[in-house]
């Protein structure tokens, strides 16, 4: 009997540890395990050498070799003594930590860098401070891409909740060595694209490569829907069906590998560097390719997005990570000072200089980025020749993205038909909208 009791108590204790994770108050006051962890981290960081800090920044850039120089520049420019907490490098973990911090009213962090997925999720939650009157004033906000600001970082009440730290595109990348090898000069139309697919693909090398892990594939599904002139929020649109069948056929015809269903960017980029892919879509300025000595006009470089739709339009997605101000912050003045710097010329320049992040403000990009930087020309072409759009996201962003990725993976593995996919996709849009 005693043993029985001990056994039950032990299993109870174990279950309790799991249950404890779900016991956070919905009112936002009680701290869950994640928040407690974050608070501990913050405390540990703040206590280093008993130094007094003006604010705490939760940054994704700490692994960058030039981070310390960037921080020194920012501290010199703002006069603030900044405590930095490194955000997890894993995207799921990072999002969970930030979500927990904000939702529990954790005040240990003042400024957080968040991506579009998070800004869409949080912008109407009341967890972030509106910056219209302090940082993103009319004269400043006009210098950012208006569509992006409105679509991604403006709440339903009109509050701008973030300062975009850079401007990025989901750029089209090609391997010039492969292009030269198969004798194709450029990929402009659907015909060019298909010709390239056929010429490159041989079972060990593929015309197109992607990262189709269930949460990452969202970018490419949306990109192809756009390129076919579809609408991500309307899966009854015939162009959406055409786009999905096109992606499915890329796999079926051996133009892209099914292996990439498990790939995130960290798996896709080495394959691109190894010459396994002829073309692909990817964010950023190609740091991974540069590190592998593969970035360049004669190797891997950005190219104009092909036009796959009949309307002759080209489409491209833009993205950014934004600095946001935690509503629970106890250092609002210092945080505003930091954000003003980040939104200004010096802040943008520091991001470009140390992190290779293309300035989000067009006027700063024009002034700071040298004409010799090939990105400048390409980005200017993207801006002028493509329909630049923010990615389609709904308030329950990650749930929606994951659900869409799951049915896409089922579709390309032939577990469901295209009509099943479209029906379920439309169902998810209606469910999460």
């Amino acid at each position: 009997m005693k043993k029985k009791l001990i056994g039950l108590v032990l299993s109870g204790a174990m279950g309790a540890s799991l249950l404890a994770g779900c016991g956070a108050s919905s009112g936002g006051a009680a701290a869950g395990t994640g928040a407690a962890g974050a608070a501990e981290e913050a405390e540990a960081a703040l206590s280093q050498g008993d130094e007094e800090y003006d604010l705490t920044l939760y940054s994704i850039q700490t692994t960058d070799p030039e981070f310390d120089q960037w921080l020194a520049d920012v501290e010199a420019g703002t006069g603030l003594n900044i405590n930095v907490i490194a955000a997890p490098t894993d995207s799921d973990t990072r999002q969970q930590k930030i979500t927990t911090m904000l939702s529990t009213g954790d005040s240990s962090v003042d400024i957080i860098e968040i991506n579009d997925e998070m800004s869409t999720t949080f912008k109407n939650s009341g967890w972030l401070v509106g910056l219209n009157d302090t940082v993103m004033t009319e004269d400043i906000r006009d210098k950012f891409a208006q569509g992006y600001v409105k679509q991604m970082i403006t709440s339903n009440d009109g509050d701008i909740i973030g300062v975009p730290s850079y401007a990025g595109y989901l750029a089209f990348w090609v391997n010039q060595e492969i292009l030269d090898e198969v004798g194709i000069e450029s990929i402009n139309t659907k015909e060019d694209f298909m010709k390239y697919m056929e010429a490159v693909s041989d079972g060990s090398r593929y015309g197109y490569g992607g990262s189709w892990e269930k949460t990452y594939v969202f970018n490419e599904i949306a990109q192809f829907v756009n390129m076919f002139g579809g609408d991500y929020y309307d899966w009854t649109n015939p162009a959406n069906k055409e786009a999905m069948e096109f992606m499915h056929d890329l796999v079926k015809n051996g133009y892209t590998p099914l292996d990439q269903l498990a790939d995130k960017y960290e798996q896709m980029n080495p394959k691109a560097n190894d010459g396994k892919y002829g073309c692909w879509f990817m964010w950023g300025l190609g740091t991974d390719y540069a590190n592998a000595g593969m970035l360049g006009e004669d190797k891997i470089h950005q190219a104009m997005v092909p036009c796959l739709s009949e309307d002759g339009q080209r489409y491209i997605f833009t993205d950014s990570w934004s600095y946001v101000l935690n509503a629970a912050s106890e250092h609002q003045d210092a945080a505003v000072k930091f954000l003003q710097f980040a939104a200004g010329k010096d802040g943008m320049e520091a991001g470009y200089k140390y992190f290779d992040r293309y300035p989000a403000r067009a006027d700063v990009a024009e002034e700071v980025v040298p004409d010799t930087d090939p990105t400048k020309e390409m980005y200017s072409q993207y801006a002028s020749e493509c329909n630049v759009m923010g990615r389609p996201m709904l308030p329950q962003t990650m749930e929606f993205i994951s659900a869409m990725g799951t049915i896409f993976q089922s579709y390309v593995r032939d577990e469901i038909t295209v009509d099943d996919f479209l029906k379920q996709a439309q169902g998810y849009v209606e469910q999460y909208q």
Binding site: K3, K4, G7, L8, L10, S11, G12, A13, M14, G15, A16, S17, L18, L19, A20, G21, C22, G23, A24, S25, S26, G27, G28, A30, G32, G34, D90, D92, Q95, Q96, T99, T100, S103, T121, S125, G126, E213, K214, T215, P257, L258, D259, L261, A262, Q267, P270, K271, D274, K276, P395, Q396, M398, E399, S402, T406, I407, Q409, S410, R413
Partner: protein, 292 residues
């Protein structure tokens, strides 16, 4: 009598701080979770409404949860059967006296000492078709043309997760079984041999019955660990392909901390808690029967 009472009061006084902390860190979260499970709490939508047992009913209709339950049952059953079978074999091997026995017993625990997240991340690369260790070994020693992406198909991804779980925890299980083996007196084996018992008979008639209770006891925590395991799939497959390797604890974590569906996550956690209590009760009953 009075003296005894005051001693008791003093004892309670000393224990109360610990009990208070325990109540705050364990009882309160449990109570809050059970309470939350009856509410439709969606933090991102600012929703917090009483919904009765709606979360519990939805749990049994939610395809994602049903897939998670299916894989959790497969994962726990397969992993535990293999733990027991291979764990006993490994323990028997480790029980044989040979040069380097101590060294082997020590290094065999290395996988167990590694964090599951690290193992999961390494396994993600290990099972990669292009860069992975597994396919590289197969290409070198078995079939040079072998190409297979383990983590994109339902069955192979599930198999890979179970293999990694075994790789990590089997040595620890074996070491614990080994400790039971070492309690068996050599005199019993010697007596059996004198009576003409073969090696197999010694194993089935002496070793197995004498370690059975030890193994049965070990299955309780090992099964409960499997039921609450989420870190391996979190870092290795993210529950994919689709939701095929999403263990129930992983699903709870995603609902609680990514989707912020706190009420629903709480209901799933309560259900898992009940399953764990039932399993433990059954196991205890089995042990009592074995003792009888």
């Amino acid at each position: 009598m009075k003296n005894k009472k005051s001693i008791l009061a003093a004892a309670w006084l000393l224990v109360i701080p610990v009990l208070s902390i325990r109540a705050f860190t364990t009882l309160y979260p449990i109570a809050a979770t059970i309470r939350n499970s009856f509410f439709d709490i969606k933090l991102l939508q600012g929703k917090n409404e009483f919904c009765g047992i709606k979360n519990y009913i939805f749990a049994f209709r939610d395809p994602k949860v049903l897939t998670s339950i299916e894989f959790t049952v497969i994962f726990v059953a397969a992993s535990m059967i293999l733990h027991i079978m291979m764990g006993v074999i490994l323990a028997l091997i480790l029980n044989i006296k040979f040069k380097g026995q101590r060294f082997l017993r020590t290094i065999i625990l290395i996988p167990w000492a590694m964090p599951a997240v690290v193992i999961g991340m390494a396994a993600k690369w290990g099972f990669n078709n292009d860069y992975g260790l597994i396919n590289d070994l197969i290409r070198r020693f078995i079939n040079p043309d072998f190409n297979y992406s383990w983590l994109i198909y339902k069955n192979s991804a599930r198999f890979a997760v179970i293999v990694m779980d075994l790789w990590k925890d089997l040595p620890f299980f074996a070491i614990l079984v080994l400790s039971g083996l070492q309690f068996i007196s050599h005199d019993i084996y010697e007596a059996a041999r004198v009576d003409g018992a073969s090696g197999i008979q010694c194993f089935t008639k002496i070793t197995l019955p004498l370690i059975a209770k030890n193994v049965a006891t070990l299955t309780i925590p090992f099964t409960l660990w499997r039921l609450t395991s989420f870190d391996l799939v979190y870092s290795m497959t993210s529950g994919g392909p689709g939701e095929d390797t999403a263990l129930i604890a992983y699903r709870i974590t995603m609902e609680a901390f990514t989707n912020l569906n706190t009420g629903y996550a709480a209901a799933l956690a309560v259900l898992l808690f009940i399953v764990m209590l039932i399993f433990t009760s059954l196991n205890m009953r089995l042990q009592t029967k074995m003792a009888d």
